[in-house]
Symmetry: C2
Subunit: 457 residues, 2 copies
């Protein structure tokens, strides 16, 4: 094992390269990066566009210099065109148009995902942007500097759509958010999604749910007309399309690697593809879900970092398993934080599990201490076994929502029961929590609800 | 089982009564409360004395009316004088001096702890107060209203001493904190204790460590002179003594119940004493430590609530085990939050375990997003097995220190390895965390440190 080649310079690829170097001082490591932005935090794009992050350079998880200091060769703006598993070689094109042939002993594919383009006319008009890569962010930033954007339409009410709604509102732009589904943030229960939509509305965002954008057309001046179901029409100078991501797997498919759900590359829990010398990680692969015990497509930065680390580790000869995702996510929308981990009732039903959910609303810390706010913690557990299946939390920014969902994610990781959550020895001081943390109060409510149903049955 | 009698109206006693009622609608429940304050949060005393909590009434976890609405009879200001396990009866004295005989089928002892009085002269002078019970807090409050307190000395640099130092400083009082040990907050590693002391000093508190108060004497006017080792003398109008708590077990000993560490009542993991019909919980009992696998004396509110709940549950016929304490604690000292769970190196050594500790300093959330601050996360693990043993975190108020220690407490509860912590699927968004949460970065640092030591050996 002399040459490790990584295709992809975002979270998974850079994590793989760095971890391989940590474990193997001798191996030759090269990373093909399609653009000029190795290790950039695409999760930071909304905060760059809002101006809260002043320079796009600040979005780098690690700078080019930090990476290169570890003797990792970055080939920036090099497009991988094809790879040949039999020859163990990759053909790439340099920024000046030259063709390179790069040999590898082990390859890590970390080609990421591309934004889904919905089938509507006008997607290629000036002022209409997908938003996934750093290049997209810079294009939007340039556009907003050159044009006066007063109104924007965001297509898609997922995490990125919500963050961008806040971001553009902070720039003084009037924002309309359009979502097909009956509520935004479809990864939460609908009534919680409605609370998130209410927070957007409270901050001046027009939220149109159960509404599908059908066309974008140029209108007078530089404006665009966005037409949607229900006779909805909105003028806008800027339209952002954030309706999801699809795995970028052209190279893998051409090379004959096995693919699966949504076309993502199939990997085993060692992040090994159907070719024993090719590993893959991040938004281009199927991801093992630890609670469901099966694969899904879960493109998330946290997952990409972990999978990349394991791919890098195993590529240089280790034997580590990816522990699996719990689908843990958090988003801040203005003053509200919404978090989830594991399964809600709908997910449990889809996985063939019989679930019970219960909720408790509790103060984030002792109500007598100034600044307390209410948290809504909803717990989902398996009815028959009492096993914790998942949780959702809504609360105010500053109320430790994010790390509270992580308490439950940690319990979930270990397959704990809801009753076990009540027994946890968690920290308490009046300015910080309650003698029973809100996650425990919710676990108690879950037990009571399960007992109530058992008694009623 | 008709009559449940509880002696003690604080966290453990009220929790026992409430839980018994939840499970048994018919049982007769009476609680003997020595003072007028059932279910008062004694952890809130510092915030009441600082004026951040305006009324002492607000410190009640549950109001008298809430408790009584559950058909729990509260006998306030009733002192339990003696109980007779053979007759299953308790003798109590009412506020008017009458003697009552109360029969029980099951008894829960929740008599709490009393403040330790150090052996120094002047402890009974006006202006010198222990601080443990609501009555103490009200006495101090009254004293501060009646006298002009400009300078105060706090004896003891534990959690309560530190919180009181902040509390009195907020009242504009010049505070000197005196601690025997070389650092404050002896439950943390000494260098972390020093950082806490620095935060106190930064806020104007004079911190004298390795200093023992030897005498308190009246000086001219209403002032007191506090004399300590090293020729230290400080004038003060108020002296608070907070050097620890000792279990209140007079009743239990007179009745012949078995006692153990520091004189605390011996209980099994069902919270049952040496008398099968007598349960005990909270600050008066020995507590099972889940990591050490043995009992210790750990008087904490969180523990009292959990033990009380289990005592109440088992007293009405259930069969629940107390899961054990991890010694999880958190304190806010001005802008700093210090938290711990499980064992540090000194604890591990005392428990006969060979430990390795490592630390990582990381931003609480992506540094590019405004408001990021550094967290110091120290992980202790068992060298041979890689098992997580404990953790300590220091960080800024608002940086989710409290719920981050809880992630590690949850991992610890389940006996996870440090390596498992790296695999956890924790939540991330740029304003809230990093793709690797700081607790995971520390776990990675721990692995590197362990590998380094293995290579050096």
């Amino acid at each position: 094992m002399k040459n490790l080649l990584v295709i992809g310079g975002s979270d998974a690829g850079i994590s793989a390269a760095l971890r391989a170097r940590e474990l193997d001082a001798a191996v030759d490591i090269q990373v093909l990066v399609a653009d000029r932005f190795p290790s950039f935090s695409i999760c930071g794009i909304p905060y760059f566009l809002s101006g809260e992050v002043s320079s796009s350079e600040d979005l780098a998880h690690r700078t080019r210099a930090e990476i290169e200091a570890r003797r990792i060769r970055l080939l920036l703006e090099h497009e991988a065109e094809r790879f040949d598993p039999a020859q163990k070689s990759v053909r790439a094109r340099s920024p000046t148009g030259e063709t390179l042939q790069l040999a590898y002993d082990r390859l890590v594919l970390a080609t990421g995902a591309k934004p889904v383009h919905p089938p509507l006319s006008g997607m290629d008009l000036p002022g209409v942007f997908p938003l996934r890569r750093m290049g997209d962010a810079l294009a939007v930033d340039r556009f907003m500097e050159e044009r006066e954007v007063r109104r924007a339409v965001i297509v898609g009410g997922g995490y990125l759509g919500l963050e961008m709604a806040e971001s553009l509102t902070r720039c003084g732009i009037a924002v309309t958010l359009v979502e097909n589904a009956p509520t935004v943030l479809g990864t939460l229960d609908p009534d919680l999604g409605e609370r998130v939509a209410a927070e957007l509305a409270r901050n001046g965002v027009e939220v149109l749910t159960s509404t599908m954008v059908e066309a974008i057309a140029p209108i007078e001046g530089h404006a665009l007309g966005v037409l949607a179901t229900g006779n909805v029409g909105r003028p806008a100078q800027l339209v952002l399309v954030a309706v999801g991501a699809a795995p970028e797997t052209g190279l893998a498919r051409e090379a004959g690697l096995a693919t699966g759900i949504k076309g993502a590359i199939k990997v085993d829990r060692h992040m090994r593809t159907s070719d024993a010398d090719v590993f893959a990680a991040g938004d281009c692969v199927e991801t093992w879900h630890r609670v469901i015990g099966d694969c899904g497509y879960l493109p998330l930065g946290t997952t990409a970092h972990k999978q990349g680390r394991i791919a890098g580790e195993n590529a240089v000869g280790a034997d580590r398993q990816y522990a699996g995702s719990l689908g843990t996510q958090v988003v801040r929308v203005f003053e509200l934080v919404a978090a989830r981990t594991g399964l809600n009732d709908a997910d449990a039903r889809a996985a063939g599990l019989e679930s019970v959910s219960a909720e408790a609303e509790s103060w984030d810390h002792k109500v007598y201490y100034p600044g307390a706010s209410k948290l809504r913690v909803r717990i989902t557990g398996e009815r028959t076994t009492g096993r914790l299946l998942g949780a959702q939390i809504l609360g105010r920014y500053g109320a430790e929502v994010s790390k509270r969902i992580d308490i439950l994610a940690t319990a979930l990781y270990q397959g704990m029961s809801v009753a076990d959550v009540i027994d946890l020895d968690l920290s308490y001081a009046p300015p910080l929590s309650n003698p029973w943390d809100p996650v425990q109060t919710a676990a108690q409510a879950w037990q009571a609800e399960r007992d109530r149903r058992a008694a009623a049955a």
